[in-house]
Symmetry: C2
Subunit: 341 residues, 2 copies
């Protein structure tokens, strides 16, 4: 079984040009660990690409975390969810004892590994060098089982007249509804952290929020269009038809002169997304369309290269809740969107 999985993995690397494979064996003995590493070394000797091995172990001996985890498993896993709780708990515990004998913790310091003990309270990293393993380690140190909502939305609509900014009718309605909505949805006595893009429309959108924890950060700046900054799509199409054509052809990879591509934006948002994963308190994020498209793709586990084509409604709160199976989504329109402003 394991041998077949390893073979599949190498097919993924060789024939489908895969870059990362996650291999979850049923058992993990010292013998298997050694076999995986030596198999990867063999591949290099056969002139194929170098495959680095990073072992990840999730070790838990905290009874309260264990119990919490078992309850979640019994509630949601298809093979358990319809059986009586007490009986299931006993057979799950018997299974765990049985499997324990087939798991050896890594003790060979010539391997690269991360051991997460009691869900990130303690982390042991060995032989972690280079960019990718460091990012993986930082991610693993960020995740937790806390459940809290993340709210995403774009700024309210405003009109610019003579340098003055004033909210449209629906924009104003959205600004006023926002605190009421959040007060209703916030868990009891919970704190709220508000992140906004560093511009006036974003900060004015959250003006009526009573929570003081408001952070404006340039990491949430909209996609930089470089020399096209401030131009409308029609402007670009008219004045710089070449740029417009290239952007139309491949909106994900095309980089505006002196600016960014969506791919660059994803790279820029990476640490912010890690920060969002790390938070255990509710978070509201107010950002412009381009950034929202990328964040939404991440949480919905959608192909990020398609994010430039996502249409996300205005004056609407996207509520994401962390769940065992990823993030679940609800949408709350708080005001109509006026198009063509």
């Amino acid at each position: 079984m394991t041998k077949r999985m390893l073979t599949d993995m190498f097919e993924w690397f060789d024939q489908e040009n895969g870059e990362v494979a996650i291999f979850i064996p049923w058992v993990t003995t010292h013998h298997l660990q050694k076999r995986i590493v030596s198999r990867c070394h063999q591949e290099v000797n056969r002139g194929k690409k170098k495959v680095e091995v990073l072992f990840v172990e999730n070790i838990c001996d905290d009874p309260s975390i264990l119990m919490e985890n078992m309850k979640v498993k019994l509630k949601y896993a298809p093979e358990w969810k319809d059986r009586p709780l007490k009986e299931s708990m006993q057979s799950l515990q018997t299974q765990i004892v049985k499997y324990q004998t087939k798991f050896d913790t890594i003790n060979d310091d010539s391997f690269s590994y991360v051991k997460i003990i009691n869900l990130r309270s303690k982390v042991i990293c060995n032989g972690i060098f280079g960019h990718l393993p460091s990012v993986i380690t930082t991610f693993l140190m960020s995740i937790h089982i806390g459940i809290r909502p993340v709210w995403l939305t774009t700024p309210a609509q405003f009109t610019h007249t003579d340098g003055q900014l004033s909210a449209t009718d629906d924009g104003e309605k959205f600004r006023r509804q926002l605190p009421l909505f959040l007060q209703k949805r916030l868990p009891n006595n919970s704190d709220l952290i508000v992140f906004t893009a560093p511009d006036k429309t974003s900060s004015k959108t959250v003006e009526y929020l009573p929570w003081t924890h408001k952070i404006e950060t340039p990491v949430l700046n909209l996609l930089s269009a470089g020399v096209c900054t401030g131009m409308s799509k029609a402007d670009i199409a008219n004045k710089m038809p070449e740029v417009w054509q290239k952007w139309r052809k491949d909106p994900y990879h095309f980089r505006f002169p002196s600016g960014e591509s969506y791919e660059d934006l994803v790279y820029r948002l990476d640490p912010f997304i890690l920060q969002l994963e790390r938070f255990t308190v509710p978070v509201l994020v107010v950002v412009h369309d381009t950034v929202l498209q990328v964040l939404y793709s991440y949480f919905k586990n959608q192909d990020v290269t398609q994010s430039p084509l996502l249409h996300l409604p205005k004056h609407t709160i996207i509520e994401l809740a962390s769940a065992r199976t990823g993030w679940t989504e609800k949408s709350f329109p708080l005001a109509k969107a006026e198009e063509n402003i």
Copy 2:
């Protein structure tokens, strides 16, 4: 002695609004560790700001690393450097044995700590939550004792005529000298990684380099001037006098409309700087003035708020070499700079 140091530290937090203090005790017993933590908790109870404690331990039992470290100490530390090597080595070893009895490794998992074993080959983190401790941990996992040069420079000078880019005479001289210079300065058989800003002048500057490891990354984009992108200083002063005045008054904190401030740029460059620290092979970085100013300030350990005022010469390579006392610098002008292009 230790008590006095702790008192000084709290004065720094309370009276000078300090945010981070690094406390290096002569001994570190379990008793002292507990005292530090309880003293910080007492401060909270007295209504002062919350001080979080992160212990960092550097543990080394690899004889080759130890020997390397002792040699460096005997060569550079003022109290050792002029004494005969053999004699010094013996007394240093005697001192180490003496001090060993006064060092207890942290074994209380209610504390936050990072243990770096044999200089980052193994790292144990406990109770690391939140942004700052994560950044510190990532930094500690990145440093190493490898010595390699980092070369910084700006792109060669080009002129733009009818959408065509051509190097000036000195720009061309710089492009041609660059590979010769690097070949001479590169350690034997060493690899070279080239990072450039993602624009034509930067990539054309490194066109003649024979090394294939060239990475264009948007993290190295010049400071985004937002709606002022592409405008010269004179243009901004004429057309947007208000923006110009604000920028002149506080060039570090002023953020261009829809763009960035230098402070934002520092934030953006943070992960790149970590990456530079992590590399054990030589690196060449070709970036525009604004980014160079920030990188240079970091490596020279200078006040980064003064970076907008730094004047760095064109067509010149800044060679930084990691040394025990920080980074040392040499400058190599490869061609004259033509001003007022």
